[in-house]
Symmetry: C2
Amino acid sequence: MTNLLKPEISPFIVMEILEEAQKLERIGKKIIHLEIGEPTEEVDEKIVKNGLKALKEKKYKYSSSLGIPELRKLISDDYKTNFNLNIQPERIIVTSGSSAAILLAILSSTKINEEIIIIDPHYPCYPQIIKILGRDIKTFKTYEMENYQIDINKLKKIISKKTKALIVNSPANPTGVSQSDSILKKLSNLNIQIISDEIYQGLSIDYPLNTILKHDLSNSIVVNGFSKYYSMTGWRLGYLIMPKRLIRYAQKLQQNMFICAPTISQHAATGCYKISKKNKDFLIKKYKKNRDFLIKELKKMNIDINYKPDSAFYIFCDMSNYTKNSLNLCKDILDKVGLALAPGIDFGKDYKKFIRISYASTFSDIQEGMALLHSYLKKYIK
Amino acid sequence: MTNLLKPEISPFIVMEILEEAQKLERIGKKIIHLEIGEPTEEVDEKIVKNGLKALKEKKYKYSSSLGIPELRKLISDDYKTNFNLNIQPERIIVTSGSSAAILLAILSSTKINEEIIIIDPHYPCYPQIIKILGRDIKTFKTYEMENYQIDINKLKKIISKKTKALIVNSPANPTGVSQSDSILKKLSNLNIQIISDEIYQGLSIDYPLNTILKHDLSNSIVVNGFSKYYSMTGWRLGYLIMPKRLIRYAQKLQQNMFICAPTISQHAATGCYKISKKNKDFLIKKYKKNRDFLIKELKKMNIDINYKPDSAFYIFCDMSNYTKNSLNLCKDILDKVGLALAPGIDFGKDYKKFIRISYASTFSDIQEGMALLHSYLKKYIK
């Protein structure tokens, strides 16, 4: 049988690093993980408690395709509390992770061969998903010296008749930067469908949390979920907020493609809205401590962070002082000192000299990781 | 903003019936549910126990994109035990329900605009998913008088250069029929990619369980999962068995589109392989009793089942003695006597006079359902 596969899908390079790290761990080597975007935080006991309760009460049948009404109401209430916005539960679809939400968002708002703009540096899966679904990609670059903010005037120039949607990720992976409120507002005034991936919402250290819905309550598509802020990664639970004109179409996609999101996870996630303010503040304090320590230590190693990573537990580091190929560098650092880091190439073709450091880790791991990086650079590079 | 949505996705009509039924339930009306393909069986305590254990042991982080090694090994062992087949765990991808497995199967083996054959009557989601992914559909009809078996010679005539894959569902929704072993063998000899959806595997009343892998160990794609035989519907857990040539591509799709299947569900599902033979036999006995009772009762109402529904807890009934439009009939039966049934139109355009009855229900509900149908037909039709 001939194998005419298309499109070509890039592997997730950070996953290859992770697998290499796990291989080393299996032979007894200690590895410090600062490569993956997965919080080491424990899931709050209120979430676990509701999960256990759901299991014991046999709440594990198919749910409504849109999600359990209780969770959709709580999400709606949360937008009221946080932003004084009225998002009717009817506009909310609970999904199998924010991944499924992105799929539904793209499929609901664009057609095959239409063009979607993504912002460089980008979450690695965006271009792959767009290719898989047969849509075209246009990239728009942002720069460290501009604090990775989107230059709206430049952006307008690349929007063509073929352009149907734009995916913005704020706070962003891999930079840990939020777009300013005025940029979000300007984005919402462009005449294309905005898909606002707000999966890192809440993980803001320097600014209040934000949403594009503040500026465009009725037209934006919002992707969000429970994996990052609530650390519910393996629970596979996200949600979509859809414009009314698209909700019915998206529901039909959900029915046919996914049936529903995992039911136990949905019941567990109702516990998210009972977490105390004290615990939430404590989380952000921890991340602030991690970030500030990292920036200080990196500076000591002559790795200057010339922008403000204000959120989303990532720092994107220009390593051009040390390498022309950060993939090789990451592999060598892992091999020599047991520190796992994400190579920049995952986030766009122009980032071959960058690495991403995740600080969704423990402070002691970050301390140890920085000591390892320091010793590596001293011993093997300088 | 103009809304140029495409393709047109049909709603899942049985879901509309279900929602109507739930509306009636909310105003206090009692409804007998024989419409949905969801077992009322409780999930085995061994599964729940492992789920609780995973939660307590905090096993809820992202898993490997292919699934936890333990579960993939157990699936592999199960094929060894049941069929004496060696399926290496490397060929198995654990997915978010068999729905995600179908998406990955289609995306791995076909391109946009290529043609996929589905067998009529069909699972409602197949044509929708194929359309959503931009592939073309060709339908091949099977007939009650031929026991819904695929006529391979006729099938060969509709295979063209454009045809890249065929989805076969055996045991099948909505007929509850298994393709004979010799037909499976002949399918595996066609020069197109076979996607064998075996989600009802194990739910065989009259024949031993089967798989296309017996005839084509290396080329078929198999879709399977835990929702039907193990009643783990809301857990969203399925799996794919891929040919070696496609496994890497499918893994990249999984990484980008889904990250991984729900981790707690994966750990829970390891309990499936500890269920006693006695309990498994008891389940099939129960389904046999339900089915035999149904056929006998339907005959009394002049609804003859002229084929052998040997598996998969469904009976597909030709209601042409009573109606030209079974959707209206189903709505009226629900409205008048509180019995929910699935209209045939969900399963193909030629089935407007059919209804599907699910017997994955309790015997007493089936008894009551048949009494209601009898009283309805007597009072409102004859």
